[in-house]
Structure formats: C-alpha cells, structure tokens
C-alpha cells in the first residue's frame, strides 16, 4: 500500500507537484500526463529518490523520509534509460550488484543470478558485455537487476520510450506476467488498457484518476 498525504514538491521556486493525496493498492497502476506534469517526480517519490517538500509518502506504513532503506527494500525502480542503471560491465556482475548491497554471500548471489536468468530465458546473456546488448536486452537486464532483489512493488519510469514496437511488446508481456505491484509511468497509452487504475497528472495536480478508459479519455481531452 502506497499513500501520498498532501505531498508537494518544489524545486528552485517551481512547484512540480502540489497537494497530491493518493492511496495506491491496485496491482497495476499507470501514471500518464504531459511532459513536465510531475509523473517522474511522483514515481521517484515512491522510492525515496526525491523527498517531498511538504506532506508524507508512505510505503506499507514506512515514511520515505524516515526509513528510506526500508522503503527501497520494498520498492524497486526501473529507469527510462537502462544505460544509466546498468553499472557493471557484464550482465551477471550487474545482476549481482543489488544482492551484494543486500549483504548476500557469493554462492547465494551466483545461484540467484543463474536462477533469474534461467527464469526469463536469458541464460545466454550471463557473461555478455552490457555495453554490447541491444536496447531491448538492456531494458530486460535493468528490470532483472530490480526483480532479483525481490521487491513487493516495481516502479517503472517510461520503460518503453527507448524501445521499438517488438521490444516494447516483449517487455509488456514480461510485465504482465509479474506478480509484483507495478506502477508504470508512460506515454504508451496502449500499454495501460488492461491496467487496474490510471492516474493522470496535469501541472502537478491529479487531473483524473480511475479506470484506464475514462482516464485516458480525460487525458486525450486536455491534450487536444
């Protein structure tokens, strides 16, 4: 359960989010809105990457300001550009990074890395240099780097923006099969058609919130 209580974010005198109050418990939630509407800020607040200027963000009752480690153990974050998220030169090493941060021993890390690569049919990529991966493969490695840490919630910030249609569809199929609660910030409205809930932001405020069809229609109306 994620709750925003009167959350405002101000940066350099500009209000990016203003008095946002939300409770999020659905399994798949989409966040849409124009550029600069506050979508990415909302996503980053959930993981504690940004702290609110006013109000509180809580994940399972933990405040992002007071217990950021506890929050990040629950919430994984996939960035728009996987090149910025992948920090090791080979796939297996990169997947191991998060587990090393959790303090796991080498054997346990190797097993978890092997298991997750096998689970997603990417065994062949284990020793591949991350720099030589295709865009789709990089996005999958970035996602696995998060999933391997077994978060309850995965937040994805525009995960399909840099992907072609084929890779975008492949990623959507992967996301559909995940058990975790997903919060996806995207411009890819098609992706959200079967989501449980969509939130539309406009100028730092919640413009619409509800079933995908209604919210997408409301978004399209203000985008005309």
């Amino acid at each position: 359960m994620i709750s925003f209580d009167g959350v405002a974010v101000e940066r350099q005198g500009r209000t990016i989010l203003d008095s946002v109050s939300l409770d999020m418990a659905e399994r798949r939630i989409g966040v849409i809105g124009a550029n600069g509407s506050g979508k990415s800020t909302l996503a980053r607040l959930i993981n504690g990457l940004i702290l609110p200027s006013r109000g509180t963000v809580r994940v399972d009752g933990l405040s992002t300001a007071a217990d950021v480690d506890g929050v990040r153990r629950r919430v994984g974050f996939v960035f728009q550009n996987p090149d910025n998220q992948i920090v090791f030169p080979s796939v297996a090493e990169d997947l191991a990074f998060g587990l090393k941060n959790q303090g796991l021993d080498k054997q346990a890390i190797e097993k978890r890395v092997g298991d997750i690569l096998a689970q997603f049919g990417l065994d062949d990529l284990a020793e591949s240099p991350t720099y030589h991966l295709s865009g789709g493969e990089k996005q999958m490695v970035a996602l696995l780097g998060v999933l391997i840490m077994d978060p309850k919630i995965v937040v994805l910030d525009e995960p399909t923006t840099l992907l072609d249609r084929r890779n975008s569809r492949a990623l959507r199929r992967t996301l559909d099969a995940l058990e975790q609660m997903l919060i996806v910030v995207t411009h890819d409205l098609e992706m959200l058609r079967d989501f449980d809930r969509v939130i539309c932001l406009d100028g730092g405020h919640v413009h619409a919130d509800g079933p995908p069809t209604d919210v997408i229609a409301a978004y399209e109306a203000i985008s005309e």
Partner: protein, 202 residues
C-alpha cells in the same frame, strides 16, 4: 583496451583467484624491467602466448591487444634502434608487448567483480588512513563500465555537429559531452541509490 574484458571459459587460468593473478602480474611487471637480454624476454613472451592458448583465448584476441599499442611500440622501438642499438629495440619491444599481453590475459580471465574485490583486498590497509575502499572499488568499476558509453556520447555529439555543418574537433566536443556526462552522472547516482548501494554497510 576497451575490449579487453572477461571472456568466459572453464580453464585453470579462469579459476585462479584474482588476487593471485594480480600478484603474478605485479611481480612479472617488475621482473620484465630487470631482464636486459633478448632470449629470456622472448621466452617470457612465448610463455604468455602459450598461456593464451591454455586459457582458450583466440589468437586474434592477443593480436588485437597488441594492435592498440602498435604505433606507440613501433615509435619507441625505432627510436631505440637508431639512438641505442637494435638489440635494445628488440628488448623494449618484447618487454612492453609481454606486459600488455600479461595485463590483458589477467583482465580476460578474471571477472570485473572479482578483480575489484581483489583490489579492495589489496587496499584494505588504506582504511586505516581513512580511505573508503569499497567506494574506490565502485569508482574503478564505473570507470570501466562507462568508458564505452563516453566514447559513444562523443560519437553522437560529433555526428550531430557534423549534420549541422560544424567543423568538429576536441574543443567543440568537450562542452556538450561534459554536460551530457554530468547529467548522466546524476542519473547513475540515483540508480545506485535505488539499487541499494551502501545498504549492506548500514
């Protein structure tokens, strides 16, 4: 050197602990500069070639490592040949070629993470003078990881400038590439945070 990364094989050389390989490399680097005769240096070079075979690394990989330094080696060897003697040129050539082959052999048979862990072990005494060893290890990793990304950014900026008719050179590249890398550094820092960097120590 960007391509000199780990190549996965199941050989004894791959299985050796990273710290042992780094120690041998350190000793070899010293010994190579103590040997001043062509025959033993040629022997070392020959052994290294055999080690490439033992590590099941394709010959083109060894050749590629030397190709990167070929021009520099050629200039040094020719200068030695004319200024000192041709046997001396051969000594310099064999010494540096062996060193490059040995360093590349270590990097190609050792996972980056194991290499960084070995560096961290070697640097442990520095903790007592306040050095954050894990942070230095991560900095080394990030440097290795982002060299090709930096090269790619420079290529993209250069292409964009050419498309707009700008005459490109190092000076015209520095500002846009630096701005881009600084923005990227912010994102990478966020990604490290999000992936729990430093959590194990807390």
């Amino acid at each position: 050197m960007i391509d000199a990364f780990y190549l996965d094989r199941t050989t004894t050389l791959h299985r050796l602990p990273a710290i042992a390989k780094l120690a041998v490399l350190f000793v070899l680097g010293t010994v190579l500069f103590l040997i001043n005769a062509v025959v033993p240096l040629a022997g070392v070079f020959g052994v290294l070639v055999l080690l490439y075979v033992a590590a099941r690394l394709p010959p083109r990989v060894a050749v590629r490592q030397l190709k990167y330094a070929a021009l520099l080696l050629a200039v040094i060897a020719v200068a030695q040949g004319f200024l000192v003697s041709w046997p001396s040129a051969a000594i310099v050539l064999l010494r540096f070629s062996s060193l490059i082959l040995a360093a590349s052999l270590v990097s190609m048979t050792t996972r980056t993470m194991d290499m960084i862990a070995a560096f961290e072990t070697v640097m442990i005494p520095l903790r007592y003078v306040g050095v954050d060893v894990a942070r230095v290890g991560l900095a080394l990793t990030l440097t290795i990881r982002f060299i090709p990304v930096l090269a790619q950014a420079a290529r993209e900026v250069r292409d964009a400038q050419r498309a707009r008719g700008v005459k490109t050179g190092w000076l015209t590249l520095i500002t846009p590439v630096t701005v881009r890398m600084l923005r990227m550094a912010d994102d990478v820092a966020d990604a490290l945070d999000a992936r729990g960097y430093g959590r194990a120590e807390r």
